[in-house]
Amino acid sequence: MKGAKGYSLIRMITFDRVSKRYPGGQQALANLTFSLARGEFAFVTGHSGAGKSTLLKLVLGIEKPSGGNLVVNGNEMSQISPKMLALHRRQIGTVFQDHQLLNDRSVYDNVALPLEISGLDPREGKRRVRAALDKVGLLSKEKLLPMALSGGEQQRVGIARAVVNTPRIILADEPTGNLDPELSAEIMALFAQFMSVGVSLLVASHDRVLIDGLGYRTLTLEEGRLSAEANPHPAGGSANEF
C-alpha cells in the first residue's frame, strides 16, 4: 500500500469496520479495519481468543461478518452466493491448524484434492502435486496415509495442498506450530516465494521469535480489536522488485 507501484496497488483483502458477534453473544471481532495488498505478507498475532481464527474464517467465508464491509478478492463476503463461495475458496490456499487431511487417502491424493475439485486434468495435476510435495520435502512419502506421518509432516502436507493450486491468497493458521525452527524457516521461505509472484499471505501465529525474525507486517489483535500494527518494511516490499 505504501509502495507506489506494482502489486501493492491492488487490494486483495479489505476489512472496513468489520465486526463479528457469534450467536451466543460473544464479540469475536470489533470494528476491524485493515487491508492486504496483492503480494503482501502479514502476520496476525495475539493471545488465543483474540480473534485470529475468526478473522481467517471471515476471509474464507466460513463465517459471515455481522457488521461492516469485508471484500476479499473482489467478493463482498456478506452477500456471496454458495456457488460463488465455492469458486472463492478455490482461489485461496488454506493451511489449517488441525491439518484437515483426509485420512483414507494417500498424501498424494490429499494434495491433489484441490486440483481435482477445480477439474484439472490428472496428468497435468501429477506434475503440480509432485512439485508441491517436493517443496515441502515429502515427495518420498506420497504413497503413505496421513496417519503414518508425524504432526510436522502432516502440517507440511497441508501446506503443499494449500499451494498446489497457485492460489491468489494463502491463509495459514499456526502453520509452523508443529515444526522445528529449521523447518519453520523453510516454510517461511516457501511462503516468501509465493509472495514474490503476487500471492497475498495472511498468517496467524503467536511464534514471536519467528515473527520478529522475519520482520513482516504484523497485525496484533486484542479482544477482537486491532491493538497494534507493526510495519518494519514497506508492505509488499519484495513485490516492488518487479
Binding site: 466460513i62 465455492a86 475458496r89 482461489q91 484437515q100 487431511l101 484434492l113 477439474g119
Partner: protein, 345 residues
C-alpha cells in the same frame, strides 16, 4: 471475479466425461468398500420391485388368455315350452334388433332333440315316441291309454354378443342378457361367458393391486435408497467438510452419491428381474394350470411360448432397470442435497 484472470481457468481442464468416469469409479469403490450393506440394500430394492412386477406379469398372462377367449362369449336363450316355430321366429327378430347382438342361431326343439340323441346315443325308435308338436293321449283299440310324451326341449337361441364402446365383451353380454330376459316368451337366459366376466374382474383387481403396490413400493424405495445415501454422506462427513473448505461446490460433492443412488436402483432392478425369472420358473406351471381351469389354454400357451417369453423378459428387464434407476436417482438427489447442506465447515 469474472473480470480478473483466474489462476485455474487458463489451465487445461479435464473433459467432463473423464471427470464423470472418475466419479463413477469412486462411487463403485464405495460400494465395494461395504459389500454387506450394499447387498442388503440391493436385496431390499430387488424384492420391493419384484412384487408389483410379478403381479403385473400375472395380470398380463391372464389378459392374454382372456383376449383369445373373448370371441366365444355367447348367450343361450330358452323360450317357453310350446312356442311354435313361427312365434319363435318373431321373437328372434325382436332380439336381433338389440344393439349388442352380433349373430343369432335358432335351434328348434326337434333339432335340439336330434342333437341330444346324437350325443346321448339314443335310438330313433325312442325318438319317434316323442311327438314333436303336441302332446297327445290317444285311445287304443283295447282301451288302454298309451302315453306319448311330448318333446320336453324348448326352442333355443344361441346369441353371440358384440362389444360396444368401452365395455368389454363380458360386460356387453351381461347387459344383452338382461335385455333379452325382458322379451316376451323368453323363459330363461344364461350367459355362457359369466365365468369370463369374473375372470376379467379378477384380472382388473390384480392390475389395480399391482398399480397400488407399485406406488407404495416406490415410496418405500425412495425412503430406503434415500436413507442409504444419507448414511453414505454422513460417513463421509469429514471429507465433505474438507472439500467444502477448499472450494468444492455442493454439486461436485453430490455427484458420487448420485451415482451411488443410480447404481443401487439399477442393481436392485436387475436383482428383481432375476428373482422374477426364478419365481416364474417355480410357479409358472401352477399359474398355467389355474388358467387352464378357465380354459385359457390358448392364452396360457401363448404367454409361455419361448419367443414371446424372451421378448417379454426383455421388456420386463428394461422396465425394472428404468424404474429402479429413476427411483435411485431421485432419492439420491433429494437425500444427498439435504445431507450435504448439513455438513457445513
Amino acid at each position: 471475479m469474472s473480470s480478473k484472470p483466474s489462476a485455474t481457468a487458463s489451465l487445461k481442464r479435464v473433459s467432463t466425461l473423464a471427470e464423470h468416469r472418475r466419479e463413477l469409479a469412486r462411487a463403485l469403490s464405495r460400494l465395494r468398500a461395504a459389500p454387506a450393506a450394499t447387498l442388503i440394500t440391493l436385496l431390499v430394492i430387488g424384492i420391493a420391485l419384484l412384487l408389483p412386477a410379478l403381479l403385473l406379469q400375472l395380470q398380463r398372462a391372464m389378459s392374454a388368455g382372456i383376449v383369445a377367449l373373448e370371441s366365444e362369449a355367447s348367450i343361450s336363450v330358452y323360450l317357453d315350452l310350446g312356442v311354435s316355430d313361427d312365434d319363435a321366429k318373431r321373437v328372434s327378430e325382436q332380439i336381433l334388433k338389440l344393439d349388442e347382438v352380433d349373430s343369432l342361431e335358432i335351434i328348434t326343439p326337434a333339432q335340439a332333440l336330434a342333437q341330444l340323441s346324437e350325443t346321448a346315443g339314443l335310438d330313433s325308435e325312442f325318438l319317434a315316441s316323442f311327438d314333436s308338436e303336441v302332446s297327445t293321449r290317444s285311445q287304443s283299440d283295447t282301451g288302454d291309454s298309451v302315453f306319448s310324451p311330448r318333446n320336453p326341449l324348448p326352442t333355443t337361441f344361441l346369441v353371440s354378443a358384440r362389444a360396444s364402446g368401452d365395455d368389454t365383451l363380458g360386460e356387453a353380454a351381461e347387459r344383452l342378457a338382461t335385455e333379452i330376459r325382458g322379451v316376451e316368451r323368453v323363459e330363461s337366459v344364461s350367459v355362457e361367458g359369466a365365468w369370463l366376466a369374473r375372470l376379467q374382474a379378477l384380472t382388473q383387481i390384480i392390475r389395480r393391486a399391482a398399480q397400488l403396490l407399485s406406488l407404495l413400493m416406490a415410496v418405500g424405495l425412495l425412503t430406503a435408497i434415500g436413507n442409504t445415501i444419507r448414511l453414505a454422506v454422513e460417513q463421509r462427513r469429514d471429507e465433505i467438510r474438507v472439500s467444502k473448505l477448499i472450494g468444492a461446490s455442493d454439486g461436485y460433492i453430490a455427484r458420487p452419491f448420485l451415482y451411488l443412488g443410480l447404481f443401487l436402483g439399477i442393481g436392485g432392478g436387475l436383482l428383481a428381474w432375476l428373482l422374477q425369472l426364478i419365481v416364474v420358473g417355480l410357479i409358472g406351471h401352477e399359474i398355467g394350470q389355474f388358467l387352464a381351469l378357465y380354459a385359457v389354454e390358448d392364452g396360457n400357451s401363448r404367454a409361455f411360448a419361448l419367443g414371446e417369453a424372451l421378448q417379454r423378459a426383455g421388456q420386463e428387464l428394461g422396465l425394472l432397470l428404468g424404474a429402479g434407476g429413476l427411483l435411485g436417482w431421485i432419492a439420491a438427489v433429494v437425500a444427498s442435497r439435504r445431507a450435504i447442506a448439513a455438513c457445513e465447515p
